[in-house]
Symmetry: C2
DNA sequence: ATCCTATCTTTCCATTGACAAGATGGCGCC
DNA sequence: GGCGCCATCTTGTCAATGGAAAGATAGGAT
């Protein structure tokens, strides 16, 4: 109901989450202001409280959305662990705001049941990808250790990329660069 | 001058940085308040502005301190790339506040000359460790790619550890766990 | 002894997050 | 069709914060 300018917004919750992601993407979570979000949505400064309670509540909802999007992305990646890793990086780059919040537990209520459930969904997707990996690709037989190493390398690469910490010679294609990095861990030899 | 309660604090700058690190370690950068730091140091709420200008200035100083500590830690690690990686993780865990700020460019002035210089010092230390690695340890001959993969895996592991995102079965010794992870990348075969 | 400058204080303002109480209007129910 | 319920949104308010401006203090240089 994008056209109506009535008393009721119609889709405030979604609008606020989208605006929050946009702000965080541009200026980081520190610059996030509930009142600014309300202004962008064209509602009063107290409207967000009804949907999220407080700031942490809004970020909790963002984190849940993020973990679900991540699980979806990982499940959708065909091609074993390597492509799952690329999908992880791709998710982090394309949904930078969600990704940033998800791994910043001081910003939201990480113990909230919806968060725990969503986090388990994405964790399950990661482990499924590790289990799919055929032997002879640098795996050690210790699936748990493999998963931890894989998670570490893609998470680290994605974080450094998003932080702008990587030197310019890495290029401007995160997927390609990620593929090369992951290849060093699990690529066929 | 810890005893004197004079008009001049004597070591305000250092006291504020230490207090900031403590607060961030406990509650994250979002909870940082200049006024709270001033209260902890026993000075007026405007005193910090003289030393750091504003909040971003304080965090810039913290980041510089962090990059220098990291460079020092990496240089001090003997034992090639593996031990340098362990030192990286150890730094991130022991100086969690510095580490967190360093890679959150929206919190401080990442282009400030002191920051650029300090960052280059730690980057140089990392590359030196990669260059030290003897062949036959999974290196590909592409030192740049090796460095990126090594940096990614230790950075990812450290970040996930600090975020409390890792499952409990990883244990409680970050150095040991990190060693196992890095071993999968560059360990002798 | 005097000035000078870095350091710190006091005062003030706009913005923010959070809360309380009230207004609005869609929806089910009769 | 009319009525009342309740989710949704608004207005008003408060303490805390970051930041700026202007003044006080002290320790050292000349």
């Amino acid at each position: 109901m994008t056209g109506t300018r009535s008393y009721h917004h119609g889709d405030l919750r979604r609008a606020l989450l989208a605006a929050a992601a946009e702000v965080i993407e541009e200026s980081g979570p520190a610059a996030l202001s509930l009142r600014d979000l309300a202004r962008r949505a064209g509602v009063s400064h107290a409207a967000p409280a009804h949907h999220f309670g407080d700031k942490a509540g809004l970020l909790t909802a963002l984190a849940v959305e993020g973990f679900d999007l991540l699980a979806e992305a990982l499940h959708g990646a065909d091609g074993g662990l390597l492509e799952a890793g690329v999908a992880y990086v791709d998710f982090a780059v394309r949904h930078r705001a969600h990704f940033e919040v998800m791994f910043r537990p001081d910003l939201y209520r990480r113990e909230a049941p919806e968060v725990v459930a969503a986090r388990e969904r994405s964790g399950g997707a990661l482990h499924a990808a590790v289990a799919d990996l055929p032997p002879g690709h640098g795996t050690s037989g210790d699936a748990r250790g493999d998963a931890l190493a894989a998670w570490s390398i893609v998470h680290g690469f994605a974080t450094l990329w998003n932080a702008g910490a990587l030197p310019a010679d890495v290029g401007d294609d995160p997927q390609a660069a990620a593929r090369a990095v992951i290849h060093r861990l699990f690529g066929p030899r």
